[in-house]
């Protein structure tokens, strides 16, 4: 059987700079997989190449054996890989409910003619139900009428995930979801992610917050300067000499 999500010798070059260099790893179905590394290791670039934001210079990304690299972002999304963005990237001017409704776009594809004639009532009801379900899943149903840009930071991050969840994803790519969160918010967010995983969604997560990553991930891939450094469970990664060296920097020179 094909691996679920397979990153195969992924290479990403910008001019003379090789940001990601022949990176390979696989993500198991139903796992929370962490992608870590020091600043500038190429984590976000990897992410952007998987989600279709960039077209890789070399290598492939396969979902259930199907090549998804090189497709545009909405095509990747339609195959079940939904990403979130760093910071609070939301439809800030729209309400919370409208944000969640955008997540239902693929399941209930809008149609101009149906909308004019009024034949899309069933679809609208379905989209509404799904959007409310997604908001309830992340505990946001009480805020549905608020403007998304006015929400607290933690709620904005949760809403970003709710949009992804509303799209019935197979894989969610979370780009630094814990940035700028206090420990309480982080703990709450970790719970939400476990809940998301338990609902059958595979999660690939890029993060700096080591506490969150170690407590959350089933498997961790560590990269440095665009290359794979180590892979394993949290305990392995924590004690891996290469990882420690990459993070603490040049231990060899000191000794």
């Amino acid at each position: 059987m094909n691996p679920f999500l397979e990153i195969d010798r992924l290479t990403m070059r910008f001019g003379g700079l090789t940001a990601v260099d022949g990176l390979s790893f696989t993500v198991e179905h139903g796992a929370i997989h962490g992608l870590i590394g020091p600043n500038g290791a190429g984590k976000t670039t990897t992410f952007n190449a998987i989600s279709g934001f960039y077209r890789p210079s070399g290598g492939e990304v396969r979902l259930r054996g199907e090549v998804i690299s090189g497709l545009s972002m909405h095509e990747v999304a339609r195959r079940g890989v939904i990403r979130t963005f760093q910071h609070s990237t939301l439809f800030a001017e729209m309400t919370v409910l409208e944000n969640a409704l955008m997540g239902t776009h693929m399941a209930f594809r809008p149609n101009v003619f149906a909308a004019i004639v009024g034949w899309d009532r069933e679809d609208r009801r379905g989209a509404y139900a799904r959007a409310v379900e997604a908001l309830e899943f992340f505990g946001l149903e009480g805020l549905r009428g608020e403007r998304a840009g006015d929400l607290a930071h933690g709620h904005q991050r949760a809403l970003g995930m709710a949009i992804a969840y509303a799209a019935h994803p197979d894989v969610v790519l979370l780009d630094e979801p814990f940035t700028g969160m206090n420990p309480e918010e982080t703990t709450r967010m970790m719970e939400l992610m476990r809940k998301l995983r338990d609902s059958g969604v595979t999660i690939l997560i890029v993060e700096h917050d080591m506490h969150a990553i170690m407590g959350l991930c089933d498997r961790i891939t560590c990269m440095s300067f665009g290359k794979l450094l180590a892979e394993g469970g949290p305990a392995e990664i924590r004690s891996h000499p290469d990882v420690i060296e990459a993070y603490l920097g040049g231990a060899r020179h000191v000794s």
Binding site: A77, A92, M106, R121, Y128, G145, A167
Partner: protein, 322 residues
């Protein structure tokens, strides 16, 4: 449902006022009323395009495409006027579809300039080719709407009042359609594409397709507006669709505000009344463009969110329910 009853009464009152309106005006004011009605459709269709965040400088040329196409269909092919108007609208939509391939490689400011260039190309083609576009003098003697009568009412479409009723009915229908589109999930997607195109893409929205859709639908309605105008005036020329006219459309839209459906409509009505009726009556014939410009500057300074922001203070924000 007392609210529904109230709405029905309200709309009936509005309709009654609109029907009675031309009889309270002078002949020249009736003509202005016809043009304003058609312009309402131009600004409303322009707003649909701005929903996706793209501002075009070629919209008036697209209006012209509808006018030229409809005029030529009647003149060269002998197609009856109401049908040719619809065909003119379709032609505008098709031209927009063709233009969308080069234009939607650009965004924002580049799209603005690109649309201006594309519009000028079309406009200069009209100027350059005497056959079939009539060159700089344009097309004269365009067939008017054929007269017809319903029972005791005779409609002679040379009469501004009759044409006002006809254009008013068409424009009202179009505005309703545009309103339906904007309030539908499609309209929500347009908004989403505007505010965060990357996030919309990650939710599976084909951003390019939606930009194109907005452009094509907006252009179709714009073309219909052009056709409505052409068969009323009876003559069109390339200079009627130049960038100066576009600036009028922009001014109406900006002064009215683009956050709501009614904003640009308010801008169009307010400025037309101000320009054509108040200033003319006051005898500012020569100074009208100057005052017009001053109004634009003042409204940007003191009403940056447009006339609509005055109304928004009175009504509650909108809610989405199934």
């Amino acid at each position: 449902m007392p609210r529904t009853v109230l709405l029905v009464i309200l709309w009936a009152a509005v309709a009654a006022v609109l029907v009675a309106l031309p009889h309270a005006l002078s002949f020249s004011q009736q003509e202005i009323l016809v043009f304003m009605t058609i312009n309402l459709l131009v600004v409303a269709s322009y707003r649909l395009l701005t929903l996706t965040g793209e501002w075009s400088l070629g919209h008036v040329v697209i209006v012209g495409v509808g006018a030229y196409a409809s005029a030529l269909y009647t003149k060269e092919l002998g197609i009856p006027v109401p049908v040719s108007m619809l065909l003119g609208a379709c032609t505008s939509a098709l031209i927009a579809m063709g233009l969308s391939y080069p234009l939607f490689r650009m965004k924002g400011f580049y799209f603005l300039i690109g649309s201006f260039a594309a519009g000028e190309i079309i406009r200069l083609l009209w100027k350059r080719f005497r056959e079939p576009f009539g060159g700089p003098k344009g097309i004269k003697g365009i067939d008017p709407m054929p007269d017809f009568s319903i029972g005791i009412w005779d409609f002679d479409f040379f009469e501004p009042v009759s044409y006002y009723y006809f254009a008013g009915a068409v424009v009202a229908l179009c505005l309703w359609l545009l309103w339906r589109i904007e309030r539908s999930p499609v309209g929500l997607t347009f908004h989403a594409v505007h505010w965060q195109d990357k996030l919309a893409q990650s939710a599976g929205v084909n951003v390019r397709a939606y930009r194109t859709l907005a452009f094509v639908v907006a252009s179709g309605f714009a073309g219909l507006a052009g056709a409505l105008g052409a068969h009323y005036i009876g003559t069109i020329n390339p200079n009627g669709f130049d960038v100066e006219t576009m600036v009028f459309v922009l001014t109406w839209t900006i002064v009215g505000g683009t956050a709501t459906f009614y904003g640009p409509l308010m801008g169009c009505i307010a400025l037309t009344v101000l320009n054509e009726i108040v200033l003319r009556e006051m005898g500012f014939e020569q100074m009208r463009p100057l005052i017009y410009g001053a109004v634009l500057i003042l409204s940007i300074l003191f009403l940056p969110k447009g006339l609509e922001s005055l109304v928004q203070k009175l009504v509650k924000p909108r809610r989405v329910e199934p």
